[in-house]
């Protein structure tokens, strides 16, 4: 069990740390937000991430990637979480890359993977349909029509949906809501007739969209993987998403904690540093312990993804559960321990609280994961 980073991984972690601290500090997110940027991400940064090989971290060399695996992807995601970096890394580099790798035909891979690796194409996963993550409940229909399919329904929480060049849409070709069987994945161009995209401004100032599909016609070759058998590929996609988000949460939670600890070391009240109060010290020490456990959970999940993604489902669910809880605690305690200034927009701690709230929700919150864990473990 590789719980310690090897030399290559250490080097990558350091490179990523320097890269994002330099190219994408928190003020970049503030600028995007305050300028009400149309794209919601920094195109220059995305291109530089491509040049660094980050966008193609999961893509094999044959398709222009660097094929470094999930540990590497997680180390990158952690640094992005630390700096609240807004970029299509999750939507495109993780979710779409996994979808194509797992389900794509030879032609689909050849067409799209190099474009992801080069930073040319942004892709988005249109999956969620209700308040909470629930892939089985997918209800959006895809009926056979002529030579292809006709898609109808609504999707929400589509990360980077309004800037995507291409979408991966999860729809039901047979069966009923509540079953993984009968789901099919489609590659859909958002410019197709009947697609309407509404950018949704979210609490974390990051990209998300609601997308309506009104009798959207696609050809048969738009199917990614097999008809009715999309559940398995979808499982791999959300699993990859959970692992990456857990790593991102480790970065955000850890940084929220660091900023908080720095703050209480300096802030004076009653003539002393408030960090000298045991009421804050014990909660900080507890949070430190939880963050150490959270780090172990992420390392294990990433290791498991690299070893055998299929059997990684349980450790990934456990890591996502743990990180959802621990990062949330870091955000909450962060604002509370900052006191009044924690409520101000000027301090970054609030931005962490907000991003953590969103990230812990993605691909199932801790309650969802706990339910899955109990079921997988047979109780």
């Amino acid at each position: 069990m590789a719980m310690l980073l090897n030399e290559d991984e250490k080097m990558l972690a350091e490179t990523a740390e320097g890269f994002f601290a330099d190219k994408s500090p928190v003020k970049q997110l503030r600028t995007l937000r305050d300028n009400r940027d149309d794209t919601g991400y920094d195109k220059g940064l995305w291109q530089e991430m491509a040049d660094m090989g980050f966008t193609g971290v999961l893509i094999d060399e044959e398709h222009g990637g660097v094929d470094m695996g999930f540990m590497a992807a997680g180390l990158i995601a952690e640094q992005m979480g630390k700096n609240l970096t807004a970029s299509p890394f999750l939507s495109t580099g993780i979710l779409a890359a996994t979808a194509l790798k797992q389900g794509g035909s030879k032609e689909q891979k050849a067409e799209w993977l190099p474009k992801i690796a080069s930073g040319e194409t942004i892709m988005a996963l249109a999956l969620e349909e209700s308040r909470k993550h629930n892939p089985k409940a997918t209800n959006m229909s895809a009926e056979r029509s002529g030579n292809g399919f006709k898609l109808s329904g609504q999707k929400g929480m589509v990360i980077d949906g309004h800037v995507a060049d291409q979408m991966i849409v999860v729809a039901r070709t047979s069966g009923e809501a509540g079953e993984m069987d009968g789901l099919t994945l489609f590659l859909v161009d958002p410019r197709t007739n009947g697609v309407s995209v509404e950018r949704t401004q979210m609490v974390d100032s990051r990209n998300s969209a609601r997308i309506d599909f009104d009798d959207v016609e696609v050809n048969a070759d738009a199917v990614l993987g097999e008809v009715d058998k999309g559940g398995e590929v979808l499982g791999a996609i959300v699993n990859a998403g959970r692992a990456a988000v857990a790593a991102e949460l480790l970065g955000s939670g850890g940084e929220a904690f660091r900023q908080t600890t720095d703050y209480i070391r300096e802030r004076k009240q009653f003539g002393v540093n408030v960090g000298s109060f045991q009421a804050l010290q014990h909660r900080s020490a507890h949070l430190y312990s939880e963050l150490e456990n959270a780090r172990s959970a992420v390392l294990m999940a990433l290791t498991a993804m690299d070893t055998d993604a299929k059997s990684a489902e349980l450790p990934v669910a456990m890591a996502k559960a743990k990180l959802g809880q621990v990062a949330k605690l870091a955000g909450l305690e962060g604002v509370q321990m900052h006191g009044g200034v924690g409520m101000t927009d000027e301090y970054d701690i609030g931005l962490y609280l907000k991003r953590i709230r969103v990230a812990q929700e993605l691909f199932g919150d801790a309650n969802y994961q706990m339910e899955q864990i109990a079921t997988m473990k047979g109780y």
């Binding site: 069990m1 719980m3 310690l4 600890t261 209480i264 070391r265 002393v272 540093n273 960090g275 000298s276 109060f277 045991q278 804050l280 010290q281 014990h282 900080s284 020490a285 507890h286 430190y288 312990s289 150490e292 456990n293 959270a294 780090r295 172990s296 959970a297 390392l299 294990m300 456990m318 559960a321 743990k322 309650n367 706990m370 339910e371 864990i373 109990a374 079921t375 473990k377 047979g378 109780y379």
Partner: protein, 391 residues
């Protein structure tokens, strides 16, 4: 590698020959442990045979040097031994504060004569040790200890009282923190001495705990004569050894298990499953939560030990491991009691194995007190890891 393979075969054959069948049934609880010592009453001939055989091989302490009674095994060989023992479900041949605590301290701080004299009988289970640390006025504030140790020329004279001395009534010798310089600052006047519990003036009285058991004693010293050669390390520098041992103790308590089966298996075994689920949704959620936390904690324990092996010392992280591990263990037993309901409340009788679960549940309450309370561990993390300012 082929050497290791050969070694594995030898170990396997030796264990096959020497590990009695009775010692291949997992222990039910701490009561099944073998403690050894001068006057120890073995639970069975098998228990004694197993301890003596392993002790003679030095495999009770596989990595200690041979000249001190150890097995002289490399880390890799010790791993092989461990895995072979696990394979046949062999019990630990000897539980011993000598092995866990004093031995490592002597190996690090003892002189050659002390190592030669004290370590081999520990390895063979012939001498049972107890630890004289806490006092009525020195619990969390251990360095406030007041047991007096006076220099009487050719010997020391010890007067005072210890408390929470584990199994002092059954131990043969004690390793003990005493004050040798009452005028120095509290951390700087402490020494580490060893003496026989049969020395005149030593008296140990068991303390009855809420579990009904008495693993601890109050221990009194009245004009106890201690040989000068039994001072370990430098005089007045005993706090260094104390700290080293406390770190050891924390790692030990933090990692202590009891029933090592997954919690969900224990709970499901108690309440049963309906349609493959624990029927009580709240209990199910709490079990899942605790299993996630236990999983992450065990990974952290392994990671920190691996980091320590790779060079970075464990340092104050032992406080984090102790804190989190003991609190988890308490949660685990709370849930086991929740699951057991009325049955778990039985205190006597065969059905409950004399209240085994209830008594273990109560025992775990001490985990976050002994070896430095949870609150002390959190203080240490704040100060030494987070570098938060002092009050």
């Amino acid at each position: 590698m082929s050497d290791l393979k050969e070694f594995r075969e030898q170990v396997r054959a030796w264990l096959e020959e020497n590990c009695p069948a009775e010692m291949r049934i997992p222990m039910k609880g701490f009561d099944d442990a073998c403690w050894g010592g001068r006057n120890y009453e073995f639970a069975s001939q098998a228990q004694e045979d197993w301890m003596r055989a392993m002790g003679a091989k030095g495999w009770t302490v596989p990595t200690w040097p041979k000249e001190y009674g150890g097995g002289g095994l490399s880390k890799e060989e010790a791993k092989v031994l461990k895995s072979e023992m696990k394979r046949i479900k062999a019990r630990s041949p000897l539980s011993s504060f000598g092995i866990w605590m004093l031995g490592p301290a002597l190996l690090k701080f003892g002189n050659e004569e002390q190592k030669k004299k004290f370590l081999p009988p520990i390895a063979r289970g012939e001498i049972r040790w107890c630890q004289g640390y806490s006092e009525p006025g020195a619990g969390s504030d251990l360095a406030a200890l007041a047991t007096k140790c006076e220099d009487k020329g050719d010997h020391y004279l010890v007067n005072g009282q210890k408390v929470w001395t584990s199994y002092a009534d059954q131990a043969d010798w004690i390793f003990c923190l005493v004050r040798t310089d009452p005028k120095a600052k509290k951390h700087e006047g402490i020494s580490f001495v060893l003496f026989d519990m049969e020395t005149p003036g030593v008296e140990a009285k068991p303390i009855k705990l809420i579990s009904g058991k008495s693993p601890f004693c109050e221990t009194f010293f009245e004009d106890v004569r201690v040989e000068k050669k039994n001072l370990v390390g430098e005089k007045n520098k005993g706090w260094t050894i104390a700290k080293y041992l406390l770190t050891h103790e924390r790692e030990m308590i933090g990692g202590m298990g009891g029933d090592m089966r997954p919690l969900s298996e224990i709970v499901a075994g108690t309440v049963g499953l309906e349609d493959g689920k624990l029927a009580d949704p709240m209990l199910r959620a709490k079990v899942a939560q605790t299993e996630v936390d236990e999983w992450a904690y065990m990974l952290t324990l392994n990671r920190k030990l691996a980091e320590a092996k790779a060079g970075a010392s464990l340092g104050a992280d032992s406080s984090m491991l102790k804190y989190y591990g003991t609190e988890l263990n308490k949660r685990r037993f709370e849930l086991m009691m929740d699951a057991a309901g009325h049955d778990g409340l039985e205190w006597e009788g065969e059905r409950s194995n004399d209240g085994d679960l209830a008594r273990m549940w109560l025992r775990t309450k001490g985990n976050s007190i002994e070896g430095g309370t949870t609150e002390i561990q959190l203080n240490i993390i704040s100060k030494r890891i987070l570098e938060l300012p002092g009050a």
